[in-house]
């Protein structure tokens, strides 16, 4: 495989960078060249935090080019829409999107539009091959008591659906490297629940 491009779209505090690290470690352990691009500082305070992960045989730039994402993992529906910049029919982009909406203040304060989930889904379909809407925050909360692991639930879902060319054992090893021991156990559970839903759910 020459290259596989993932964009993780989220809001500061949702764990997009952590998820990027987990995938990057897994790709590294599986023997691929890998690069991630991440943003820190100002952007992390509830702003848009995209994290890019690219892996394959030969990777030079850390940033995914316009229209070249193979997979977009969005931790929030509006952020999925924003990440369409990286999606295209040509790259057969697949979206895995957490359905929990977190409207930005510009909606209530400046009257900017936040379309309905259905409208967002339709627009995403115009930019990619397939869209999977997942109740990841809700599921993560059921399992762990907090929505924080929604990122790992989405990862599990994508793996269960066979959307990432990485083996589960390397992903778990990657999680072990990135997360503390205590967090690893609860996240493993979340990951496997996501994987189960991805595997059995509608394709």
């Amino acid at each position: 495989m020459k290259e596989f491009n993932i964009v993780i779209a989220g809001i500061g505090g949702q764990g997009s960078i952590t998820l990027g690290y987990i995938i990057a470690q897994a790709a590294f352990l599986q023997g691929y060249e890998v690069k991630t691009a991440e943003l820190h500082g100002l952007a992390q305070r509830y702003g848009v935090v995209p994290c890019h992960v690219r892996f394959g045989e030969s990777i030079h730039s850390s940033v995914v080019m316009e229209g070249e994402a193979n997979l977009i993992i969005a931790l929030e529906p509006l952020e999925a829409l924003r990440a369409c910049y990286y999606a295209s029919k040509e790259s057969r982009t697949v979206f895995v999107v957490d359905s929990k909406r977190i409207p930005p203040l510009s909606v209530s304060v400046c009257g900017e539009p936040y379309a309905s989930l259905n409208t967002i889904l339709k627009k995403l379909e115009e930019f990619g091959e397939k869209v999977f809407l997942v109740n990841a925050s809700e599921k993560a909360k059921e399992i762990t008591g907090t929505f924080v692991s929604s990122n790992v639930y989405l990862l599990g879902y994508a793996v269960g659906k066979g959307l990432i060319p990485l083996e589960k054992k390397f992903i778990l090893d990657g999680m072990k490297r990135v997360l503390s021991e205590k967090l690893f156990e609860s996240n493993k559970k979340v990951f496997e629940e996501g994987e189960r839903e991805g595997f059995h759910g509608k394709s």
Binding site: V34, G67, P103, V109
Partner: protein, 613 residues
């Protein structure tokens, strides 16, 4: 990954900034210092995490100038040192860096600066720090990726020591914040104890300054000859059209050539001051056209134009007429520029894709102060007390007050400037002026400006937003906290005592969560017509929440009684702008996953917002 900075494996997945630290450790660095600033922050934070184990002295200094001077002191005493900061940090340090080129160093000294094209974490400018190398007469290396971050940093110590001058390493956001697989060498435990040996050569003073200046030029010429080739990469390619590039732009050039299926001759420069002119001349001689791909200013382009004038005046040069001068470079632009150079079309219409994307009209999502942030409460109170005041902003999380709905930041300039500019405005205008500055920023650059305000009978109100940390860059400690980078207890420097010692009479500490008291204090001080200071003291909510969770304490969430909710309360909540309070289709609720339980909203709408039962 932090753990991999000390790894004994052959390779590891490292962030560019971590790779800089690894390179320094492989070179036997003994002393490191910084003032935090994104995108360079993780250099200091990584040192802080590994210093003890690696036997390196590390400190967060009060500002970049002091950090650089401290590193110079170590290098003058024979201990290899590194200092790191963001672009604007170099501006603060520059007064100490310029003479250091003349003074020289004994042990290797490396100065790392990370620029922030596109201002992902910066408010002031898209500074291109490459230009500094030339005025400073110092060598500058520009790594393209995490591997080169490590390799160049390590090599920089050797060069610095050999030529007796500090070496600059220039990073950009995408290099600092790229994680990649880095091949590792052995870590060397360096000297961390040294001696300052008196020597007439350290006495840089006229008339020797002039001869030293001359020697510096010679040193740089020798350095270019000796080291230029080592840091240069050449891709052979085919044809008479070539590319010259440096830094992160190189990776986009390689990707873009793959996407366009072309192989052009490429000259990639790692040493961008002094330039290896001989190599550039040789490269230009074989070409009819050259494209210079660089981020931000036309620094390379201008030099290449002047070299071309000498050796190949007929060559066609594309530079900033093909690649944007502002904003960070992305591969799309490079694809476009190479298309222009070669006439080769890209298989995918980027223009059409952009058009389709722009039609989406996506609501903006500004970065915001967190739920429970004490700054939001202070800003809200200031606006309530004196909505017509001029609000002078400064550098930190609180510059997010620039966004609606608070809009309590009329301008932001640079560290400490809120006070100086507020002083100037209050001298020429009758308006009420309120300046905001963070605690760490006050220690960094706010004290001389406050003394100036006392000295010159100013009458603005300064609010020091004392959240007990350097929050925006990742919660580094500062002199007021009572603990340093090494985790040692230190005597906390008291903001109140400093303000009093400067001679300010109107001063008090107010808890920003107490809206009533804050509003009253602001009104009282503004009415006095005298220079006043309010220290708005309340720990960053993120730290409080982290501590509460660690100690197993419950964070009480708040909820809105929808039956009681009035339009007036809705309006207040809209003006307050807490991200945990969500309004959608006329329905207002507190997202309990986001609420950090500060309770300020309950003060705004008493009886309507209560602790969730």
């Amino acid at each position: 990954m932090l753990a991999e900075v000390l790894s004994k494996e052959a390779k590891g997945l490292l962030l560019g900034n971590e790779a800089v630290v690894r390179g320094a450790l492989e070179a036997g660095v003994g002393f490191a210092s910084t003032y935090p600033g994104t995108p360079a922050s993780e250099i200091g934070d990584t040192f802080a995490a590994v210093a003890k184990q690696a036997g390196v002295y590390f400190e967060y200094s009060t500002n970049e100038k002091v950090a650089l001077e401290a590193a110079a002191g170590a290098a003058l005493s024979g201990v290899r040192s590194l200092v790191a900061f963001k672009s604007f940090g170099l501006n603060v340090a520059i007064d100490s860096l310029f003479p250091l080129a003349y003074l020289g160093v004994k042990a290797g000294m490396v100065v790392v600066v990370s620029d922030d094209p596109s201002c992902w974490s910066s408010a002031q400018s898209e500074q291109d720090s490459r230009l500094y190398a030339r005025i400073a007469h110092l060598p500058m290396l520009e790594p393209s990726d995490a591997q080169e971050c490590k390799d160049f940093t390590k090599a920089a110590f050797e060069i610095s020591e050999k030529f007796g001058i500090p070496v600059l390493i220039r990073l950009t956001t995408r290099v600092s914040h790229e994680s990649a697989i880095v091949k590792l060498d052995r870590i060397v435990r360096g000297k961390h104890v040294g001696v300052f040996v008196k020597d007439v050569k350290w006495k840089n003073f006229p008339p020797t300054v002039i001869s030293t200046h001359e020697e510096l030029h010679k040193k740089l010429a020798d350095l270019a000859k000796e080291c230029g080739k080592v840091f240069t990469k050449v891709l052979l390619g085919k044809g008479k059209a070539g590319i010259i590039t440096s830094g992160v732009a190189y990776s986009y050039v390689v990707e873009a050539m793959e996407d366009l299926e072309v192989e052009l001759p490429v000259l990639k420069l790692g040493l961008t001051n002094p330039l290896p002119e001989g190599l550039i001349e040789k490269f230009l001689e074989g070409l009819d056209a050259v494209l210079v791909v660089e981020e931000l200013d036309p620094v390379l382009e201008e030099s290449i134009r002047s070299i071309a004038c000498k050796v190949k005046p007929s060559i066609k040069i594309l530079g900033k007429n093909a690649v944007p001068v502002a904003g960070e470079l992305v591969e799309e632009y490079v694809v476009h520029a190479i298309s222009r150079l070669t006439g080769k079309r890209y298989k995918f219409s980027l223009a059409q894709h952009k058009q389709q994307y722009e039609r989406l009209r996506i609501a903006r999502r500004f970065p915001l102060m967190c739920p429970g942030c004490p700054h939001r409460a202070t800003f809200y109170a200031a606006k309530l007390a004196e909505p017509k005041a001029v609000f002078a902003g400064d550098i930190g999380c609180y510059m997010l007050g620039v966004h609606p709905p608070l809009e309590t930041t009329d301008f932001v300039s640079n560290m400490g400037a809120s006070e100086g500019i507020a002083h100037g405005i209050s001298k020429v205008s009758k308006q009420n002026v309120i300046a905001f500055i963070g605690d760490s920023t006050f220690f960094h650059a706010g004290i001389p400006a406050l003394i100036n305000a006392v000295f010159n009978n100013s009458n603005f109100l300064l609010i020091i937003l004392d959240n007990r940390t350097t929050a925006m860059t990742g919660h580094q400690p500062h002199p007021g906290v009572g603990v340093n980078a090494a985790g040692e207890q230190t005597k906390p420097v008291s903001l109140l005592e400093i303000v009093k010692a400067c001679g300010v009479e109107n001063v008090k500490i107010v808890d920003p969560y107490n809206i009533k008291e804050m509003v009253a204090s602001i009104k009282e001080f503004l009415a006095s017509g005298k220079l006043s200071v309010i220290i708005a003291k309340r720990e960053c909510r993120l730290l409080t929440i982290r501590r509460m969770r660690k100690e197993g304490m419950k964070v009480h969430k708040f909820e809105i009684d929808r039956l009681m909710l009035t339009d007036e309360c809705k309006k207040k909540l809209r003006e307050f702008g807490c991200p945990a309070i969500i309004e959608e289709d006329g329905v207002v609720y507190i997202d309990e996953d986001l609420c950090f339980g500060c309770g300020v909203c309950a003060q705004l709408c008493p009886g309507i917002i209560k602790v969730k039962g």
